[in-house]
Amino acid sequence: MTASDLLLTVSGLCVSYEGIEALHGVSFEVAKGEIVTLIGANGAGKSSILRAVSGLVPYAGAVVYTGKDLKNLPADRIVAAGIAHVPEGRGIFGNLTVGENLKLAAWQRRDKSAVARDLDRVFDLFPRLRERTKQLGGMLSGGEQQMLAVGRALMSDAELLLLDEPSMGLSPVLVREIFKIISEINREGKTVLLVEQNAHLALQIARRAYVLETGRIVLSGTGRELAGNPRIREAYLGG
Amino acid sequence: MNRTGTAYATWRDGWRRFTARKYFWPAVLACGLAFSIAADRYDFVDLYVQLIVIYVGINIILTVSLNLINGYMGEFSVGHAGFMAVGAYTASLITVHVLPQSVAAVGFPVAVLAGGLAAALIGFLVAIPSFKTRGDYLAIVTLAFGMIVKSILENIDAVGGPRGLLGMEKLTTLPWVFFWTALSVWVIRNLVYSNYGRGVLSVREDEIAADLMSVNTRQVKIIAFVVSSFFAGIAGGLFAHALQFINPRMFDIIKSTDVLIMVYLGGIASLAGSIIGAVIYTLLLEILRPLGIWRMVFMPLLLVVLMIYRPRGIMGLRETKLFEPLGDLVTERLWRKTKKEASDAAP
C-alpha cells in the first residue's frame, strides 16, 4: 500500500457526546479499491467513526481524504468530495417517494444521463424498489428501506461508501444479496468502509478489518486473519 | 474498612438530610403563611409590593398548571387564558350576585373553588378532541376554545359584555394567594410523581408506545387537562378579586402567550422552572417600567437571547431535589452509592 493509494486516513480520532468521550483516539486508513470493515460490540463506537468522517459530529483528531483535510468541512461538502454515508437506521425520508429519495441523493450531480443510468442500475439491483417508485418511503418495510438506503448511496456516485450495518433487519436472502452487491460495487471500483454486526460475512468480503472495543482499535489485520483469530471467533463470531 | 465507613457515612448523612426534609416543607409553608397573614393584617409591607407578590403568585399558578399540558404532556395549548376567564367570571358572579355581601369574604374560598371546578369541567370537554388530535392541530383546538370563551363573554350582557364585570371586593389577599399557590404547586407535583404523572410523561415521549405499555392515554389526558384547567380557573378567581374588575379582553390570546412565555422561559417539565419563570417575568415587567416603550422592545430580545443560550428554558427538564419524592431520592442515592463503590473497587 503506497501513500498515493491511500484514500482515507483517520488519525487520533476522538468523539464525545455531552462531555462523555465515546472514541479515544482511533487511527486507521482505507486504500483505494478496498473493502475495510469495522467490527465491534454494541456501543463500541463504530457508528461514531462513520459520523465523524462524514462530518455529522464534531471531533478531535484528523480525517484526511485524498490528501484533503475534511475537518471543519460541512457534511454536504464532504459528500461533494466523494464520500457517501448510509447511516445507521437508514435515514429514509418518509414523506418522499422512493423515486424522490433516490433523486435527492443525486443532488450535486449535473450529468443527467449518468444519473438516469445509475437509477436504472439501482432498480436492476433492487427490483422491489422499481415496483414501489411512487410509494412513500415511510411506508416501506424495514428491508425495503434498507435497499433504498443503499440505492441512495449509489446514486451519489461517490468514490467511498460508508455503510453502517447495511444488513440489519434483512431476510437471509437479502443479506447475502446485499453482501454480493457490496462486493460487486467494490469490483466496479468503489471503496467501501463497512460497519457490520454480521461479522461472518463482513470478514469474508473485507480485504482488511479493524476490531473496535470501547472506543479503541484493539486489533487489525486482513479479513481472513481475523476470521481465524480464536479471540475474535469467540467474541464476535459466536464460537 | 475505611472506605465502607465513608460510604456508610455519606449514606447516613444523606438519609438524615432527607428525613430532615420531612420538616423542611411544613416549616417553609408555615412561615410563609404566617408571614403573609401578618403582612396582610399589619400592613408592614408596601401595598405595591403586596400587589406584585399577588401577581407573582397568580402567575405561578398559571405557569405551573400550563406546564402540566405543555411541558409534561408535550402538547401545545394556547388557550390557557380561556380557562382562566371561566374561573374568573364564575368566582366573581358568585361573590357579586350569589353571596350576600356580608358573607362574601367568608364565601371567597368557595367562590374561587367553584371557579376552578367550572374551569375543570370545561377542561374536561377540551380534553376530548385531544384523543384524536395532537400537536398543532390540538393547538388550534385550544386557540379556538379561547376565542369562543371570549366571544361568549362579550355577548352576555348579564356579565357586562365588553364593559366587563365589577363589584368584586378586594378579597384576594396575600394569605389566600399564598395558600392557593402552595396548593397548586403541591398538587401538581403530587400528580407528576404518581402513576398518572408518569402516564402524562409517557404520552409526551411516545403516545403509541405508552398505549401499548398499558397506559390509558385518554384517562391520562383527561386528568392532565382537568387539573390544569382547574388551577387556571383558580388563578382566574384570584385575579378577578385582586383587580376588582374583569373584562373579556383580559383573557385574550395575548394573556395566553404571556403564560406560554413564562412556561418556556422557566423550563418545560419543571416545577422549579415554572416558579422561576413566573417570578422573573413578572418582576422584570415591573422593574423595567422606567424604560417606557423600550421595555417592550427589550423584554422580547431578552427572551430570544435566553432561548438561544438555554433552548429548554432556565430549568428545562430538570427539577430541584426539593420537589422529588423522598422514596425516589433514597433509592437513587443508594444506587449511586453502590455504583460509586463498584467503580472505587475497580482497579
Partner: protein, 256 residues
C-alpha cells in the same frame, strides 16, 4: 385451548393487502416464530394483535376473548405485551420510570389519591417501585436505573424494552426482531436469554426474526409469510427445507 387464536386475519393499507387470511393458534408456553421476506406483513400481524391497527377482517382471540376493536392498553392489560422493531423507549425518562410506566394498569389508587398523596398511594408506589427495581435487577439493568433511557447503548436498550414489556405482566410476549443489530456472539446470548425469560416468567412467546440461527435454535414452530399470505408452517426442520420458503426467503444456497 390455545392461548392465542387468530383466524382469517386480513388487513389492507390503502389497497395494499399487507396480511391476507392469516390463521394461527398458539398454545400456552409455546414459542412460535414468524419469518418471511421483508415487507411480508409480519410486523403488521403484531400491530393487529396489539390493537395498533384494526383488522379489515378476521378475529383475534386471547383465551377465547375477542380482541379486535379493543384499544391497545386494554389489550395489554389482558396480557399481551410487545417490543418494537425500531426501539421505542421513553427516551427522556429514566430506565426506572420506563419500567414503572408499564405498571400503569395495575396501580390500585385513584386520581384523587394521586393528587393528594393519600390513601393507598404510598403503599402502591412503594410496591410498584420495588417491583420495577426487582425486574431491573433480574435483567441486570439495575445499575442504570436512574440513567435516561436515551443514554443506554443499543444492546441495553433492547434489553430494557423487553423488561418494560414484561412489567405489564403479559401472558403472551411479542418480540419483533430482538436480534437486529447484534453480532453472532450476542445473538447466542440472546437465545439463552429468551429461553430464560420464557422459563422465569412462564410466558408464551411469538417472535419475528431474520437471524436463522436464533429462529432455528429456539422456535418450536414456525409460520412463514410472504406477501401477507402464509406459505408454510410447521416444525423448523420441515420449514427450512420447504422449497417455497427456500425460494422466497432463505435462498437456494441455504438448502441443506
Amino acid at each position: 385451548m390455545p392461548l392465542l387464536e387468530i383466524s382469517g386475519l386480513t388487513h389492507y393499507f390503502a389497497g395494499l393487502c399487507a396480511v391476507s387470511d392469516f390463521h394461527l393458534a398458539v398454545a400456552p408456553q409455546e414459542l412460535v416464530g414468524i419469518i418471511g421476506p421483508n415487507g411480508a406483513g409480519k410486523t403488521t400481524v403484531f400491530n393487529l394483535i396489539t390493537g395498533v391497527y384494526r383488522p379489515s377482517e378476521g378475529s383475534i382471540r386471547l383465551d377465547g376473548r375477542e380482541l379486535t376493536g379493543q384499544s391497545p392498553h386494554a389489550i395489554t392489560r389482558l396480557g399481551i405485551a410487545r417490543t418494537f422493531q425500531n426501539i421505542r423507549l421513553f427516551k427522556d425518562l429514566t430506565v426506572l420510570d420506563n419500567v414503572r410506566i408499564a405498571h400503569y394498569g395495575e396501580a390500585a389508587y385513584s386520581p384523587v389519591e394521586a393528587l393528594l398523596h393519600i390513601g393507598r398511594f404510598r403503599a402502591e408506589e412503594k410496591r410498584i417501585t420495588v417491583s420495577a427495581l426487582d425486574l431491573l435487577a433480574v435483567f441486570k439493568l439495575d445499575f442504570v436505573a436512574h440513567e435516561k433511557a436515551r443514554s443506554l447503548p443499543y444492546g441495553l436498550q433492547r434489553k430494557l424494552e423487553i423488561a418494560r414489556a414484561l412489567a405489564t405482566r403479559p401472558r403472551l410476549l411479542l418480540l419483533d426482531e430482538p436480534a437486529a443489530g447484534m453480532n453472532p456472539n450476542e445473538i447466542l446470548q440472546l437465545m439463552e436469554f429468551i429461553g430464560w425469560i420464557r422459563r422465569t416468567f412462564s410466558v408464551t412467546i411469538l417472535l419475528i426474526e431474520h437471524q436463522m440461527r436464533l429462529v432455528m435454535g429456539i422456535c418450536e414452530r414456525l409460520v412463514v409469510l410472504d406477501f401477507g399470505a402464509t406459505i408454510a408452517a410447521g416444525l423448523p426442520a420441515a420449514v427450512r427445507s420447504d422449497p417455497k420458503v427456500l425460494e422466497a426467503y432463505l435462498g437456494e444456497e441455504a438448502a441443506p
